[in-house]
Structure formats: C-alpha cells, structure tokens
C-alpha cells in the first residue's frame, strides 16, 4: 500500500513499510539531512519536524519527534523539515537564533528552528514568551546553556505580536517566517484521497512507547494504526460527563477548554507530562494500555475515577473502571483482540478539588520518580468522596483504595491528612531502581500527598504542621 504525503513542497508516494519512521524517511529516502538523530527515543528533539493536518478546511500544524512517528501517521499530511522552512535568506526564526548566537555545535539547531517555526504558526492573538519557551521544551541543547536561545525566543515573540489574526499564514509568508509554498498546502492536501485504515494485529497510537521499546522489532510487527482512525480523537463534554476518545493526544486533553475550566491547575499539571512534541502524538489509550506504573495520564485518570470502554473485533463493548483494570505488572483486564475506544469520567464540579503532583530528576521532560493525583468532592470542610492514586510505588499504577476511603466522609484536618498518610504508607511497595531508592520514593510520596492538600487548601495547611 502506498503512503502519500507532502514533504515540504514535494508530494511523496512511497511503498515503504508504513512502520518506517518519518525520521528514516526524510534522512535516508528523501536525503534531507538537516533533521538529525540524537537519541531515537523522543528525548532530545534533534529530529523534530512539523506535521500539518487539514482540518475543517484549515491547516493545523504541530511539532512531533520524527523518530517515533511512523509514516502511516502522516498519510495525507504535510511534513515540514528544516529544509522546508528555508528561504533565499534566513527566515525570521533562523535570523533570531543567529543574531543571539543561539547555535554552537549546530546539531540540535534544526530541531529548535522547526519547533520555533511551529510556534510562529500556532501562536495566537497575544503570543507570550512562555509559549515560545514551551514550544522548545522538547529540544535539548548541550552547548549553549539555553540563554541565547531564550533571547532569540524573546525576539521572535515580539515580532509575532504584529501577526495579522485574519490572515496568519499570509502574514507569516510576507514577513519572512515561512516560504510561500505554505499557502498552497491546504489545496494540495485536499487532493490526496482518503484511505481505509491500515489494519494489522498490534495496535499503535502515536508510537511514543512502541518505537522506544521495540525499535528493532517494529519492522517485523503487523501494526494496526489507530492514530488517525476516524472517531477516535475527541475530548467531549456533555452533562458534566467527559468522554475522551482513545486516540486523543495529551495535547488534546491539555488544550480542552472544558477541562481547563473545570480543573484550575490543569495546564500546569499537563505541562509536567513529557514535552510538547511528545504530547502532540502520545495518545491517552496508549498511556493506559502501556500499563506503566508511572504513566502520568493513568495516575490522573485514576483520581478522576475514570471508566474505560473496550471493544473487540466483533464489536462487543464493555466498560471497566480504570482502578480495576490493572492486574499486575503490565497485566491488564484486556483481551488480545480488544482495544480501548474511550475513557469517561465525571468532570470535576464546583465542589470537587483536583491536584496532580510529579517529581523527577529533571522537573520537565522526564519520567516520574513518583507521581500522584487526588480528586475530592467537598461539602464545606467535609470530604464526601476522595480518589487518590500514585505511580512509581507499586508494580501497577496504583489506586489508593484505603487512603481514599479513610478520607471519605471525614472532616478535613491536619490529623486526618496525617492519618491518611500513615494508611497510604501501608498501601505501597516501592522498589529501588534507576529513578530512586525505595526509601526515597516512600518519603517522596508522603510529601507529595501533603502537597495535594497544601496546594488545594493553601490557607488551611502549611508544611510545618504536616511533617
């Protein structure tokens, strides 16, 4: 089967395996060597490309790590490498990086250029410096210490404040951010015919775990590509019930206005999950079905007391509470022919408090040492119900049953929190590994549990009362 997409301003039709990574394709098939290989696991951003999707007659661009993206996932889309951003002179992003000496050895630089051009495209009415920095939160530089790149990002942001909201793409082209062919992309993509789903045996979403864990095997696996399967990507709220389709990405969840409205720290919490280009492709079902004991979304959804809906090949559908889904290390209540189709939970209401905590060696773009979430419904100072979860302290993403039940029905107080923390300590069995010793994880979870309450009720609790 042929995979068709636009690579910069060139139409590609390739018979290569759909599992081929976009990175290998652009470097070794299309011979575009500006996209670099730094780690092949989505942790450095040297291979960042933009992917533009035609949605409701508009182009939507996002940055992705090309090392984890199969070409099947860019069918009918626009893939942009650094070469596809070049003009006769330097584009505005490139010029800003040069102006501020934001490049030294240069190996990470194309990734930064691509990410910042992505920011230029996606930036809205009032672009902020912090959005510019967010756009490069998945790009690692070992030479500059980032300060020069920050200065470049500041310059780019101030330029983008002038952007014409009515004709953003035209403005970007006329101001030398993007080459002119960008204006024709929408039309060219619309002429690429839709294809049937590429169906195989093993489901893959964004590829952010499979391509890390099974790098050498991917070419031999018969993959079922779910990323763009129709109907599997939406975050939908009706009657306070939130339904997230399985291939919704972390970014889809993060940017959901309903979730942002319902959960005060939502953006800050979600920013702790991986990096922008990974969030753009990592799917919620992938995070759940991976069964990682430290999956951030899993921990968040456990505290939402979410339910997941599974469907098998015969269309049999069943629901299971996420807290009952995990049976042991990487073991789930899920048959081989089942896939997760959606996740549902009650949107936190006015009297519901939610908090997510995560600590790692590096606070962003890292895997949690310990993460934890809590959802509590309150009636004044009485906890009506509580759902608390923790990752990194057990073979499965843990729903803290006893802790949750100790809290429920009680009056919120220092004594209660302390007692709950003692119960919590009996529910966990952390092991020592590369992310930390068991003693550390134990202490850390206690601290993060306290942090929930300090964060949610800053005027009620202080650190020194709790420890």
């Amino acid at each position: 089967m042929m995979i068709t997409f636009l690579l910069n301003d060139r139409l590609i039709q390739t018979a290569l395996s759909p599992s081929t990574t976009v990175l290998d394709f652009v470097r070794y098939e299309a011979d575009l060597r500006g996209t670099k290989i730094g780690c092949r696991e989505g942790d450095c951003g040297a291979c960042t490309v933009l992917v533009g999707t035609l949605k409701d007659d508009n182009m939507e661009y996002m940055s992705v790590t090309s090392c984890l993206t199969p070409i099947a996932n860019v069918y009918g889309k626009h893939v942009v490498t650094v070469e596809g951003l070049n003009l006769d002179h330097l584009n505005k992003v490139q010029q800003a990086i040069v102006n501020h000496s934001g490049t030294q050895c240069g190996f990470c630089t194309p990734g930064f250029v691509v990410s910042l051009c992505g920011y230029a495209i996606t930036s809205g009415k009032n672009p902020t410096y912090s959005e510019a920095i967010s756009s490069i939160d998945g790009n690692i530089c070992r030479c500059t210490g980032y300060k020069s790149i920050e200065r470049a990002a500041l310059e780019i942001t101030s330029e983008l404040c002038q952007k014409d909201p009515a004709h953003p793409m035209e403005w970007l082209v006329s101001k030398g951010f993007l080459p002119e062919y960008f204006l024709t992309v929408r039309e060219r993509l619309s002429s690429i015919p839709k294809i049937a789903d590429i169906s195989g045996k093993i489901p893959v979403g964004g590829g952010t775990d499979l391509y890390v864990q099974k790098f050498d095997d991917v070419q031999n696996i018969d993959l079922k590509y779910l990323f763009d399967r129709s109907g599997l990507r939406s975050v939908h709220v009706e009657n306070d019930l939130c339904t997230i389709s399985s291939s919704s990405t972390v970014t889809d969840m993060m940017t959901s206005e309903s979730l942002q409205r319902a959960i005060p720290n939502w953006l800050d919490s979600m920013k702790l999950v991986s990096s922008t280009p990974i969030r753009n492709i990592a799917t919620v079902a992938g995070n759940l079905a991976n069964a990682s004991p430290i999956g951030d979304l899993t921990i968040i959804l456990l505290a939402m007391n979410a339910q997941i809906t599974l469907a098998n090949e015969n269309g049999m559908i069943r629901k299971v509470f996420l807290k009952d889904f995990y049976k042991g290390y990487k073991k789930m209540d899920m048959q081989d022919d089942e896939i997760i189709i959606e996740i549902t939970f009650d949107l936190p209401e006015k009297n519901t408090w939610f908090n997510f905590e995560k600590v790692c060696k590096r606070q962003y773009l890292d895997i949690a040492t310990v993460n934890t979430a809590i959802g509590m419904t309150m009636n004044h100072d009485i906890i009506i119900s509580a759902h608390c979860s923790a990752g990194g302290v057990s073979p499965v993403p843990l729903y803290l049953r006893k802790t949750s039940s100790v809290l429920s029905g009680q009056k919120l107080s220092v004594e209660l929190i302390r007692r709950a923390a003692e119960i919590l300590a009996t529910e966990i069995a952390p092991i020592s590994d590369v992310r930390g010793s068991s003693e550390y994880k134990r202490l850390l979870l206690r601290q993060l549990f306290y942090s929930h309450f300090i964060n949610m009720f800053p005027f009620m609790f202080e650190l020194k009362e709790l420890i």
Partner: protein, 751 residues
C-alpha cells in the same frame, strides 16, 4: 562576530559525518559486546548472525592485521576483546552489513559463553586490591605535618563526586573508504585526527601517510571525542580494509552511552587546617580516581586534578596524592575541565565543612585565602598576573554579596517551605596541555592569486567557535574582509602530527601558528610593495595595502597578483610551540601553564523543602576573558559551560549496578539540563584584565574554566538544605539530585 557556521546550522546545511552523501555500495558496521563487566570469554557464537540477511562479515580480534591496541597514553586497551572483557560495553568485534538495521537484527543472534570474574566498580576497592593504572603521584608544598600544630581548626572529611556522560548531541561515528592505492580516507567525528590516524596505522598495519583523517566539525565533543572517537574510526577503517567497500559506523545513542567512558568519578579524603583568622595553613588530600578498565587519558586527568587541588587559593603546606584506580567500568575519559573540577570540588567541600564547623560563612574563608602574585602553587609555579582577588572584589561589589546574604537570611527566616541558599565560587584554571610536549600547532595558509585565502590548522570545530576565531585572526592580520577567508577542515594531509583540540587551547595554539603564517606571508607581500612600488612603510587594512608615509595604496588583490607574478610563494606553513612552559615529573615541579584564567560566580538557589526540588534564581559571574576577541563566542562558552556544570552537580547521575551494568543508559534515564532547569538569570561581566601574551590577541582561553563556576550550585543547595535542617549531618556526595536533597532535608529531622 557571530559564529561563521551559524547560518548553515540554522538552515540544516551543516554536514556532520552521517550527513555526508553515501557512496554507492556503502556498508554499515555495528560493534557487539558481551553482557558482562568482567569475564573470561569461552566462545562467541556468530554463526546465526553471519547467516542473517544482509550480513557481509563479522570481524573480531583475530581479523586484525596489525596490533590489537588503541591505548593512547598506555598500551593497555585492545580494540576488540581477546580472552577477557573488562567492562560492560567493551567491543568484542563488529558486524558488517548492507544496512544498519540488518546489522542490529544480526547482533541479537550472537550468543556468548563466558565465565564471570569478580566485578569492581568502586575506586577505593580497586585501590585496596592494588589495581592501579599508574603509580600514585603526590604534589607537595611546605610541610603540612609540621603545620597542623599551628592550626586553630583542623577538619577532616570525605567527598564523593560522580561522573558525567558527555551527551554530545551527535553520537560517535566515522565513515571510511579506500582510495586507489589502498590508502584510506576517513571522515571521523574526532577531536584528535592525528590520534585516529595513528591508531588506524597501528591496528591496520598501514603507514600513517596512507591514512587521511578529515574532520569538518563535530556535533559536540566536550572531551568525549578526544580519545574515544578513535575506536569507532579504527573499526570503520578496518571494515573498509576487509571488505574493500566504503563503511560507515555511527553509534546508536544507547550503544554510545553504554560503550564509551565518561567524566571520572572521584572519592577523596581531605584534611584542612586553619588559623584563627581563617588562613588555610595546611591541606592534605587523597584522591581515588575511578579510571575504568584501561588508562585512556586517566593519568593526564589525574595530573590535572593534582594541579587544581587548591583551586584559587594559596595554601603554604600541601600534600596532594592521587591514585588512578582500575575498575570494571568503561575507560573514563576527558570531559571539560579534565580532572580539574574534581580537584577543586574537594577543596571547596573542605572549606564548606570547615566553615560549618567553625561557624562562619564559607566565603569568609574563601576570600581570606585567594592566590596573589608571587604565591607558589604546590606544583612549583610562581603566580603572576593573578586576577583571583580582583574578580572576587568585582563580584562582591557588583553583585552586592552582602545584600544577597541579608536577603537569603531574611527569606529563610520568614519561609518554612522554601529555603534559599547561595554560594560564591572563585575559579583559577591553568591553560596549556599539562603534558608540555603537546603544546604546539601548525597552520597552513594559501593566498590564491585572486586574493582569496584558505586556512588549514589542526583545530577541530565543535561549536566552540575556534574556526570563527581563526578566521578573525587571518582577516585581521591581512587587513581583509572576513568574506575573503575560508577555514578548511582539520585534515591530517594538510596539517600533520597535531595535538587534539582540547585543554581550551585550540584557539591559542592554532591561532598563534596562524598568526605566524600570516606574518611571514605579509613580510613577503610587504617586500614586493617596498621593492616594486616604492613603499617605505607597509600597512594591511581595509582590503588594501597602504603606505601611511606617502599615502600610496594598492588593493590587496593587486599586491597578491603582483607577488605571484614575481614567483614569490603565496603559501605558508608555520609552526608554534608555547614558550617557557615546563614540568619535571620526577620532582613534580615546574611551570606547566602558560597562564591562568580566573573568575568569581555568585549562585543563588531556592529549594522546595516539601518536594526536595530546587531552582536556581541567578548566577552572576565576573569572568577574566583577558581581551576577548569575540564576545559572542566567549559569552556562549561561559553560559554553556556553566549550565553543563550545573547539570553535573545536580541532575546528571551516572548509575552502574554492582555488576557493572550501566542503568542510566539512555536520555530517558540520564537527564541533562533542559530549558526549564537553567537559572532564571545569568549575568556575565568582563573583568578588566590585561590578558596574557600567550593567549591569541590576549584573549584568554574560555572553553573549560566556566564549567567550574557550577561547583557553587552544589554548595548553594547545601546551604538551603542546612537552613531547613540545621542539625543534620550531611555528606558531600555530588550530584545533589532531588533524591539526595529530600533525604537530606528529612535526615534526623526533628520537627
């Protein structure tokens, strides 16, 4: 002047080894290794791998035509393991195939039979068993044994400092092919083209003149490609020799991190004695360096640890001893600072412990002992043109140290959850290869008859901007616009017998050689102007050659062609060797450094005592650039070095298990600073200093010294931790990861 590579970098046009167009028929090589850190090899079963699709050949130690030896300093390192392996990741051979992915598939089919031998990962344990790379070395000054009795305070302790993985963004790699007469072209991502050439010659049994090593640029080096780019280049060349085909070898990140050495971990014991007025009277230190399984550059790194064991302080009585301990880890290697950071870290730990014991601020001790002109360091060099006091005083004044102290104290008084800490970090770093014979360089300059100029040196561009500085030298000497000058790759055919681009010396050594070449060429051009044009005085400026006395002038291009027509050479190959420096290892005394670089940083941090995480509020530095010839490039070196150092002191944790297996074997488990983990504010001021005549244009070397400002990051965090948990007994154990911070915050916590 902005880095001359910048435009190609931002457009993705810069070419690294893996970006070179492949010659048709190119094969790929992939190293394989045993899953054991110390074992006697019984059998390596390669049959299934060799019959795997796309596989051409598998080479092991028996396929080496020359010596199976790549040890640069000491011949103790085979290219491929023979009877034993001594660390996890030691290559046992290579698979050569039609594609990288087929090689990887084949590698999984190799099985190994071996008997495991005891694994040692701890340098003190190795020392206890007498496993040393070289005999111990000791630097002495005065008589510390006598001095202790004069000390009011004597404090002892231990400091442990972990290693650091380089994470150059471009992994190790090389691309080799044969030329018509069997000579070899080798593109290598190396800081040391000559070292590669020499090792290929030795292993392949081919004379050096048949090996052309070419290095355009590196995607980061940091020392990791000084000695350890060599094996991969040799393997590519060996594979090309065996198959008579072009062969490329680019390491996958996980292979690179597993198979290559890192910054040396150290474990050190110290004893420090102070007078009543906080003068350090005596200091004794013993360093146990974790060298890994073979020497690599460890002896030279050990030496620099000793050179810098007293950092920027004058201490009259010193004994500094260092053991290079052989363990079952990958051979540890050069990394920005080259043993200096570890040596400095221990004296700083000693000062902090002394300050905590006496009940003063560490900076009071630091300031009271800064080195001055005329002071002698333990290695015998009498200090001149010191800037330690100047940079300290500037930093203290410009960055209002007293205010920082008050602010910190009052913040800590009023906050329970968050605590602030600060540290002052002076540095003094010696410039020159400590191995005196390596301090030389050559430059080849051609002026073409159209007036354009091309320069070759042995300097390798790896982002540090050396090519930009070299271009400035040539353009400046000739008085022509930079666009008329091109800097060529480092190539062993054009420049022979080079020292690696290392020790912060690239711009100095190569720049000085280039300046000599330009001067000689100018002399010939000037002669033509005098003899043929009647100039009485000759100046090269603004693309012209002028006689200020008579107002005569001629375009650069016109004088060049005139010189050419007179059959005078427009090419020059010049040599430079740093004068004056010397070091006598039998006495451990001498004058090893051309000059020193100084500076002082003030670092402020905020620790979240609930979660054990921290953030740096600011780092403010007064740095001794001398007369910086390129402020853009030099600023980038200070910022980049600082942040890399902060990584080493905070989040970068190299973890091996007790079997010698690396657990932090990928970027998912080994974390280097991202954009959110850098200090909110970095301020860098230029110290008004004279520079040094041994520095090119008095612009001091800048690659390594700023790295060491980051030592203060550790001590700033420690100060904040102490503010929360004043009574806890804290050890010195870098890096200060969030784990160690949280454990320390709640260690014997009484609240």
């Amino acid at each position: 002047m902005i880095n001359i590579d910048a435009k190609n970098h931002v457009t993705g046009r810069s070419v690294y080894v893996d970006d070179m167009p492949e010659i048709k028929g190119t094969l790929y090589a992939l190293p394989f290794d045993l899953p054991a850190a110390h074992a006697r090899i019984k059998k390596i079963n390669i049959d299934k791998a060799i019959s795997s699709p796309g596989i051409i050949k598998i080479l092991t130690c028996t396929d080496i035509p020359g010596e199976n030896q790549i040890g640069g300093v000491i011949p103790d390192e085979p290219l491929f393991a023979e009877d034993e392996v001594h660390y996890c990741g030691q290559p046992a051979g290579i698979i050569i195939g039609e594609s990288e992915s087929e090689c990887r598939q084949a590698r999984r089919k190799i099985t190994y039979e071996f008997d495991e031998l005891p694994v040692i990962t701890c340098p003190r344990e190795a020392h206890g068993k007498g496993l040393l790379i070289i005999p111990p070395r000791t630097f002495r000054l005065g008589n510390s044994a006598e001095a202790w009795k004069d000390c009011e305070h004597v404090i002892e302790g231990t400091a442990d400092i972990n290693g650091q993985e380089h994470i150059y963004l471009e992994t190790q790699g090389a691309y080799a092919w044969l030329k018509e007469d069997g000579s070899i072209y080798l593109a290598s991502s190396t800081q040391a083209p000559t070292a590669v050439q020499f090792a290929v010659s030795r292993v392949l049994n081919v004379p050096m003149h048949k090996i052309e090593v070419d290095t355009v640029r590196l995607g980061g080096g940091f020392g990791g490609k000084e000695d350890q780019a060599t094996p991969w280049a040799v393997m590519a060349a060996l594979a090309a020799q065996h198959t008579q085909k072009p062969v490329k070898l680019i390491l996958h990140r996980m292979d690179d991190v597993r198979m290559t050495g890192k910054r040396h971990p150290y474990s050190s014991d110290f004893k420090i004695g102070l007078s009543k007025d906080l003068k350090i009277l005596a200091y004794e230190v013993t360093h146990y360096q974790n060298a890994g399984a073979s020497a690599d550059l460890s002896p030279a790194i050990l030496e620099r640890t000793l050179f810098h064991s007293t950092n920027a302080y004058f201490i009259p009585n010193v004994i500094a001893t260092a053991y290079s301990c052989r363990t079952n880890l990958p051979p540890n290697t050069a990394f920005r600072g080259f043993g200096g950071p570890q040596g400095k870290c221990v004296i700083e730990a000693a000062i902090v412990k002394a300050a905590e014991t006496i009940g003063v601020c560490p900076d009071e001790i630091q300031k009271a002992n800064l080195v001055n002109d005329g002071d002698e360091f333990p290695y015998g060099q009498i200090m001149q043109d010191t800037e330690a006091v100047n940079s300290w005083n500037e930093a203290e004044r410009n960055f209002a140290l007293e205010e920082v102290k008050h602010r910190t104290d009052s913040f800590n008084m009023n906050n329970n959850r968050f605590k602030k800490g600060y540290a002052v970090q002076p540095i003094c770093f010696g410039i020159s290869f400590t191995n005196t014979m390596m301090n030389h360089a050559r430059a080849l300059v051609h002026i073409y008859k159209d007036g354009s100029v091309v320069v070759s040196t042995g300097a390798v561009e790896m982002g540090q901007g050396v090519n930009t500085k070299l271009l400035q030298v040539a353009a400046n000497e000739f008085g022509i616009s930079p666009s008329k000058v091109r800097i060529e790759s480092a190539n062993t055919l054009r420049i022979a017998n080079t020292s690696p681009t290392a020790a912060s010396s690239g711009a100095d050594l190569n720049g000085k050689a280039l300046k000599i070449a330009c001067t000689n060429l100018k002399e010939r051009l000037a002669n033509v102007a005098v003899n043929s044009l009647g100039f009485t005085d000759v100046k090269f400026e603004n693309d012209r050659v002028i006689d200020p006395a008579s107002n005569k002038e001629i375009l650069w291009e016109d004088l060049v062609i005139k010189t050419f027509q007179q059959r005078i050479s427009l090419s020059e190959h010049a040599h430079y060797a740093t004068p004056l420096i010397n070091f006598d290892r039998t006495k451990e005394k001498g004058h090893p450094f051309a000059y020193h670089v100084y500076g002082t940083a003030i670092i402020e941090v905020t620790v979240d005592c609930l979660k054990g995480i921290y953030h740096f509020d600011s780092v403010k530095i007064v740095h001794d650039f001398g007369k910086s010839m390129n402020r853009d490039v030099d600023l980038g070196q200070v910022e980049g070095g600082l942040v890399q150092g902060i990584g080493w002191m905070t989040m970068e944790e190299v973890i091996y298990d007790e079997k010698g297996k690396l657990l932090t074997n990928a970027l998912s488990t080994y974390k280097i600073p991202d954009i959110y983990s850098v200090p909110d504010e970095i301020v860098i001021e230029h110290l008004d200093s004279t520079g040094s005549d041994f520095a090119i244009y008095k612009s001091k070397a800048v690659g390594e010294p700023p790295f060491m400002y980051a030592l203060g990051a550790y001590f700033a965090i420690r100060k904040a931790v102490k503010a929360f948990n004043p009574d806890a007994e804290l050890s010195f154990n870098a890096p200060y990861t969030p784990e160690k911070v949280l454990m320390d915050l709640y260690r014997n916590h009484s609240q």
